[in-house]
């Protein structure tokens, strides 16, 4: 079984390539750099099961380069995307790049499927940001309105819309996984969970802006990879939420960071900088239709990420 993964050297991409190679897939790992994807603490994957490929989503040669790797029995996982440094205020230049990479890039990848004689199925990494601010307090389901308040969310949603059109036109299954930020060793972004771990790695208390009661979803990179494998096996189409299924308050993330570091005390509470915003998705659809069941308990995943941070020369600072 052959699978092509775009964005293969990213955080989730590396876990996915490893996971699929271990499950017996022949993996083509496409990325701008063309490097071999590598998971922290793991050996490089065997070159007989993972083959790197140079692919730049903003180039018009995507249909040709990627098309050669595809065919009716080849699966495709499209993870490659761009996220600007700050979600709240992307600049017009950021927006142009988001459209170029996340929308036009997705169209080029789908055009490669068309030009390259098809695919067994396509799985696309989408985001919880397609929803915007939830309208109620119930866990957000896939039927909720999509009102993205970030350009990133709008461009990922446009990618989903084009996948939907592509399936109608070409008859090839396409499935979108709406995921929260993904944690685990190798995570480089700045947001609550990794920031808390960076603090405790330095022996400091995590800082929380506000009372820390805001709810956020979490998904370990290994579970994200598992979700993709379930999606490929299902050959279904449509949007699916994917997370660990548990609502986590920001405060509980900070306390878990202290606990896994073996530190006592409480996080430091500072005045809120933003309006409170809860986000928690239901993963009932992924459980029942894809057979997805997350495996990594939060404390275990965070302990592993802390161990990785401590292994870095500057503790990930």
């Amino acid at each position: 079984m052959k699978v092509v993964v775009t964005g293969a050297t990213g955080h989730m991409g590396a876990y996915l390539c490893q996971h699929l190679a271990n499950a017996g897939w022949a993996v083509v790992a496409a990325s701008r750099s063309g490097q071999m994807p590598r998971v922290a603490f793991e050996a490089l994957p065997d070159s007989s099961s993972v083959r790197p490929l140079v692919l730049d989503l903003s180039s018009e040669n995507v249909p040709e380069v990627l098309g050669k790797e595809l065919g009716p029995e080849v699966s495709l996982v499209h993870l490659a995307a761009w996220h600007p440094p700050a979600t709240a205020a992307s600049t017009p230049a950021d927006r142009s790049r988001l459209i170029e990479v996340n929308v036009q890039g997705t169209l080029r990848v789908l055009d490669a499927v068309r030009a390259g004689g098809g695919a067994r199925s396509v799985v696309y990494a989408s985001t919880f940001e397609v929803y915007g601010v939830p309208s109620g307090s119930e866990p957000v389901t896939e039927a909720a309105p999509t009102r993205p308040f970030s350009d990133y969310g709008a461009t990922k949603l446009a990618g989903e819309d084009h996948l939907f059109a592509f399936t109608a036109e070409e008859g090839i299954p396409t499935l979108s996984l709406r995921m929260p930020a993904i944690y685990g060793p190798g995570e480089h972004v700045s947001r609550a969970l990794p920031n808390f771990l960076r603090s405790v790695a330095r022996g400091e208390r995590p800082k929380i802006y506000g009372d820390g009661q805001d709810l956020r979803d979490q998904l370990h990179a290994a579970d994200a990879a598992l979700g993709v494998e379930c999606s490929l096996a299902s050959r279904r189409s449509g949007a699916y939420n994917l997370a660990d299924g548990t609502p986590h308050s920001v405060l509980s993330l900070a306390r878990t960071a202290l606990a896994v570091a073996g530190l006592g005390g409480e996080p430091e509470l500072l005045p809120a900088q933003k309006k409170r915003f809860d986000f928690h998705m239901s993963i009932a659809k992924a459980r029942s239709e894809l057979g997805f069941e997350p495996r990594v308990p939060l404390a275990e995943g965070m302990a592993e990420q802390l161990r990785w941070l401590r292994s870095l020369p500057d503790h990930g600072k």
Binding site: E60, A89, P92, R95, S96, I99, V103, Q104, L107, R108, L110, D111, R114, P145, T146, R147, P148, F149, S150, D151, A154, T155, L157, A158, E160, D161, H162, F164, A165, F166, T167, A168, E169
Partner: protein, 323 residues
């Protein structure tokens, strides 16, 4: 004082009628269209090098902007054509809105979207909410939906103000003649009854082009915000539309007693049955759509007299709302 309105896609089907509607309201129109089409400003908005700031600099301050420019693609949703069209449809409106607002202060933009952003929501009538779910399965609707979302994100950040007008199936004098209504009318004018493919029960809503121009002009000059459906007087089955085409040709003094017939010469196309709620458009823009028979008669006359697209707006009623 004369109001200046910038219109992108000014020389297209809707653009020509909008130009007339705006001029009738005493406005000065600055049109932008592809080179060689006769607009005041020649510019391909799908160019990768297009600069909204340079356009704002060149045009100067305006009292409003209407963005129409778009090519209707019917091929693949992901090929090179779809990608070029996406650039003009999705990103240009928000860039133009922001450029004029940044350079000259509040400048209201009206974006001509499409009912294709609604997708399949049941037979309706569909309300014009700002967050439709999944657009119809084609890049045209997906690109329009992205444009709307980017405008809303920008507005929420205080970078401009806008309205979206979502026309249903636009017909009338000047219409590109590859779609159902002009095909029916031409057949009737030649003395034959039109053929309706499939069972004829496809529910559709047709809106006269001058009614769309009315909505765009009024939304622009009134600085109305939010989403508006620009639909016709009611939805009908395709078979009913074909019957009315027969009556329109009759009303012109053409062949009498023609009837449409059902044909299975072509497989039925994918179809979404839709109808639209226009109460917000009526309430905020004083909109009143023309009866379908009236518009079909105008289009039939235009077709029978040579179908010159440059003279299309002469075949419609004098615009309402004109001072």
């Amino acid at each position: 004082m004369t109001k200046k309105v910038l219109v992108t896609g000014s020389e297209g089907f809707v653009g020509r009628h909008l130009r007339r509607a705006l001029v009738a309201r005493g406005a000065l129109v600055l049109g932008v269209d592809l080179p060689g089409r006769g607009a005041e400003l020649e510019q391909n908005l799908a160019d990768a090098e297009f600069s909204a700031e340079a356009l704002a600099e060149r045009v100067g301050a305006v009292d409003g902007i209407v963005h129409l420019a778009a090519r209707i693609t019917r091929g693949s949703s992901v090929d090179g054509d779809a990608r070029r069209n996406l650039r003009a449809i999705a990103e240009v409106p928000v860039r133009v809105m922001e450029a004029f607002n940044a350079r000259y202060g509040p400048t209201h933009l009206v974006f001509c979207s499409s009912i294709k952003v609604y997708g399949d929501q049941g037979a309706g009538p569909i309300q014009p909410s700002l967050s439709p779910l999944r657009p119809e399965a084609h890049s045209y609707g997906s690109a329009k939906a992205l444009a709307e979302r980017l405008l809303e994100i920008s507005r929420a950040r205080g970078l401009g103000s806008y309205a979206v007008v979502r026309p249903s199936f636009v017909y009338g004098p000047g219409q590109p003649t590859t779609t159902a209504i002009p095909a029916f009318l031409r057949t009737c004018l030649s003395g034959a009854g039109p053929s309706v493919f499939g069972d004829g029960l496809q529910l559709r809503d047709d809106v006269l082009v001058s009614d769309v121009a009315y909505c765009l002009a009024e939304a622009c000059l009134r600085k109305a915000e939010g989403a508006f459906n620009a639909a016709g007087d009611r939805s009908r089955t395709l078979f009913e539309v074909a019957e009315l085409c027969c009556r329109a040709v009759e009303a012109l003094g053409g062949p009498r007693g023609l009837k449409p017939s059902l044909s299975d010469a072509r497989p039925p196309a994918r179809w979404i049955n839709q109808s639209f709620d226009i109460s917000r458009t009526r309430a905020l823009l004083d909109y009143e759509p023309a009866p379908l028979l009236t518009g079909l008669t105008q289009e039939a006359r235009w077709l029978s007299e040579g179908a010159d697209p440059t003279r299309a707006s002469e075949y419609v009623e004098p615009p309402r709302g004109a001072s």
